[in-house]
């Protein structure tokens, strides 16, 4: 495969196919995701949004039946190259999962775990600072500051998800993948997370999967519409929501399929 010319694409995917045993979950997807933007993946349930997202930090490696083919590059480097260590990749590409999955440890330890294993803090004070900053960014600081040592699993579902966001950003990733991060949040927390995404966009490349058209419209600059494993349309968010080219996109955003 010939090298991608250096555009400002942070992530570029070419001819990506994903198979789970017999299921062909992603079919020939080509996409270029720009740095310092928010890109939204939308599409009906089961169309492969999560699967594609998990290709970007190679979380699919952990599923035995999953086979990924094609070419995915971050900063022009093939992330499926044999020389790439997925652990190093995942430190660079953080992820927030669809279901909140805090560690059964204290709130503090949840956030501090990533920085600790990557050696991002030289001492306790620095670690404390990272934890506080991350929790503040994730809009959880006010609720959590008095109970940092109580278990993260004791938080409400929405608080747990924000804890997971704090955990993901604590390792200072360059790319943040978010799989429906707001599906368990109330409108106020959602607004806070959206604000956070706006904030993160200034320095990171954010990819967000969402089922909420409004959310996609509010936070993203680019939107990709997936349907039955194919990338149907990928364009500026404004264009997708006002003047989509593909009839399937139009019927999805106007609520006729999905």
């Amino acid at each position: 495969m010939k090298d991608t010319p250096m555009t400002n694409a942070k992530i570029s995917a070419k001819g990506v196919d994903v198979h789970y045993a017999d299921t062909h979950a992603i079919k020939d997807v080509n996409v270029e995701i720009a740095d310092k933007t928010v890109t939204a993946f939308i599409g009906p349930s089961g169309c492969g949004k999560s699967t594609f997202l998990r290709c970007i930090n190679r979380m699919n490696d952990t599923i035995d039946s999953c086979r990924v083919t094609g070419d995915i590059r971050i900063d022009g480097e093939d992330i499926y190259d044999a020389k790439v260590d997925p652990v190093q990749l995942r430190a660079k590409v953080g992820m927030v999962f669809q279901k909140p999955n805090p560690f059964p440890k204290s709130i503090y330890d949840n956030v501090a775990y990533g920085p600790k294993i990557h050696g991002l803090a030289r001492n306790k004070a620095e670690l404390d600072e990272i934890v506080e900053k991350s929790l503040r960014k994730a809009a959880l600081w006010n609720e959590a500051k008095d109970r940092l040592l109580s278990p993260g699993t004791g938080l409400s579902g929405g608080q747990q998800q924000r804890l997971c966001i704090a955990r993901a950003i604590a390792t200072a990733p360059e790319v943040l993948l978010m799989d429906e991060p707001c599906s368990a949040l109330d409108p106020i927390a959602t607004a806070q997370v959206e604000e956070l995404i706006d904030e993160l966009q200034k320095s990171f490349c954010v990819v967000i999967v969402t089922h909420s058209m409004q959310q996609a419209a509010r936070v993203s600059q680019k939107t990709a519409f997936f349907h039955l494993g194919s990338l149907v349309e990928y364009d500026d968010t404004d264009k997708i929501f006002t003047n989509p080219e593909d009839p399937r996109t139009e019927s999805y955003i106007s609520g006729r399929i999905g």
Binding site: F103, Y113, I117, G154
Partner: protein, 440 residues
């Protein structure tokens, strides 16, 4: 449309409720039967065995005549050792007769029979004391000595006047005299520490038999099993569950481990005999061989329970750890293993408990031998855990084989001891599980 009242149950609901009530009744019935069987077992064991924890002793003054014990008068141990227990028996007889006469008790028994009221073990007790401290020769010393098994049985209700009349080893007169001595305070039944500390005794001396060697042997074997089976089992499980590729080979291994868990334990005994004794030439009857055999037997149990508890850790936790850039190893050791620990511990302790109660393989490797010496943990000759020993369950088996009814009581007492150890181990398992789970 007709209106259905909620206050009357319809036929379908009634049928469903009846089925549920029946099911609950079956369940309750099963539990009641199980509890009855358990309490029956416990009552029978405790009622025959609890008396093993009491023992009848006679406290008598024994004249340690110099003319008998140390003719040379030099207190030279080498010379004094030439006097066997037979030499001491007459002194004990004199002591007993003197005690009877002092109390002015009337008896038709001969001096030999009065002396015979003490256990054959008593002479050895006195001899050991004398050899340990030769200076007491020439004085009269008070000894607390075992009475014979029949008298002990009489005070525990096992032997009666009627049964004594038919018994060649005792007579009603002897029991009569024992009763009078007991009334005078010479004979008394007290708690039997020796049962837990003394070694086994020969067929004629159930009153002297103890579990000391067996407990020590079992302890050594448990140490070996714990030290070998826990790390090997846990490491194997972690590898198989978290790292090994899922292919035909790992399937074959998995099936084999499950099969090994179901292999009759005696087969492990044959294996141990062939490998550890015949091929590797470890000492027969040694806790080392026993421990290795039990380790092989316990490994599948530990592996299966460890894998089950690793499996029960939600995959989302692994995803979370990998997602923040932890390596596979970090995700396992920082997150999965701590969550699986209570299950692993429980499985290990259950495996240990199983090993503690295992008899058949130990019989094959010779741990059924009659051992009176406490095995040392290490000697230069025999190596680590290399000295001959027995084990608790084997001791039970051994004692039930013996003719003297005194051993029935001992065997039940040993079962009680074994059950208490198992109870303690299970309590530890529950405690550890609670402690680890309470954290979150």
């Amino acid at each position: 449309m007709t209106h259905k009242s909620l206050l009357t149950a319809d036929a379908r609901i009634k049928k469903r409720n009846a089925a549920e009530a029946r099911f609950k009744a079956y369940g309750l019935g099963a539990i009641i039967i199980a509890m009855l069987a358990l309490s029956l077992l416990l009552t029978s064991v405790v009622s025959t065995g609890s008396s093993a924890f009491k023992q009848t002793y006679a406290t008598v003054s024994v004249p340690l005549t110099e003319a008998k014990l140390d003719k040379s008068g030099t207190r030279d141990l080498a010379v004094m050792k030439k006097v066997t227990t037979i030499g001491y028996t007459s002194l004990l007889r004199d002591g007993m007769v003197a005690a009877v006469e002092e109390l002015g008790l009337d008896t038709t028994l001969s001096a030999k029979d009065i002396g015979g009221m003490l256990s054959k073990e008593a002479a050895a007790t006195v001899r050991n004391r004398v050899l340990a401290n030769p200076d007491i020769v020439g004085t009269s010393v008070m000894f607390k000595l075992l009475t014979n098994g029949r008298i002990d049985g009489y005070f525990k209700g096992r032997v009666t006047m009627e049964s004594a009349a038919l018994d060649g080893n005792t007579s009603p007169e002897e029991l009569q005299l024992a009763q009078e001595l007991a009334d005078a305070g010479v004979i008394a039944t007290t708690f039997n520490w020796a049962f837990l500390t003394a070694p086994d005794a020969s067929d004629q001396r159930p009153e002297a038999a103890g579990l000391g060697v067996a407990i020590l042997g079992s302890l050594y074997m448990m140490i070996i099993v714990l030290v070998l089976a826990l790390p090997i089992g846990v490491a194997a499980s972690i590898y198989l569950e978290e790292f090994a590729p899922k292919n035909r080979w790992t399937d074959v291994i998995e099936v084999n481990i499950s099969n090994l868990a179901a292999v009759p334990s005696i087969v492990y005994g044959i294996l141990g005999l062939a490998i550890f004794i015949n091929f590797m030439e470890f000492n027969q009857s040694s806790p080392m061989v026993g421990g290795l055999v039990l380790t092989l037997m316990t490994l599948p149990t530990i592996i299966i329970s460890t894998r089950a508890s690793l499996k029960s850790v939600p995959p989302s936790i692994r995803d979370a750890a990998l997602g923040v850039g932890a390596s596979k190893m970090q995700s396992v050791f920082h997150h999965v293993l701590p969550l699986a620990a209570p299950g692993i511990l429980t499985g290990t302790i259950i495996g240990l408990a199983q090993a503690l109660g295992e008899t058949a393989p130990l019989l094959l490797i010779g741990m059924v031998a009659f051992v009176r010496e406490y095995p040392a943990a290490y000697t230069a000759d025999a190596g680590l855990f290399g000295e001959a020993s027995t084990a608790l369950p084997v001791q039970v088996f051994n004692w039930t084989q013996r003719a003297d009814p005194g051993f029935v009581e001992r065997a039940s007492g040993a079962i009680i001891t074994l059950l208490i150890f198992l109870l303690i181990m299970n309590a530890i398992a529950i405690f550890l599980r609670r402690k680890f789970e309470r954290r979150w």
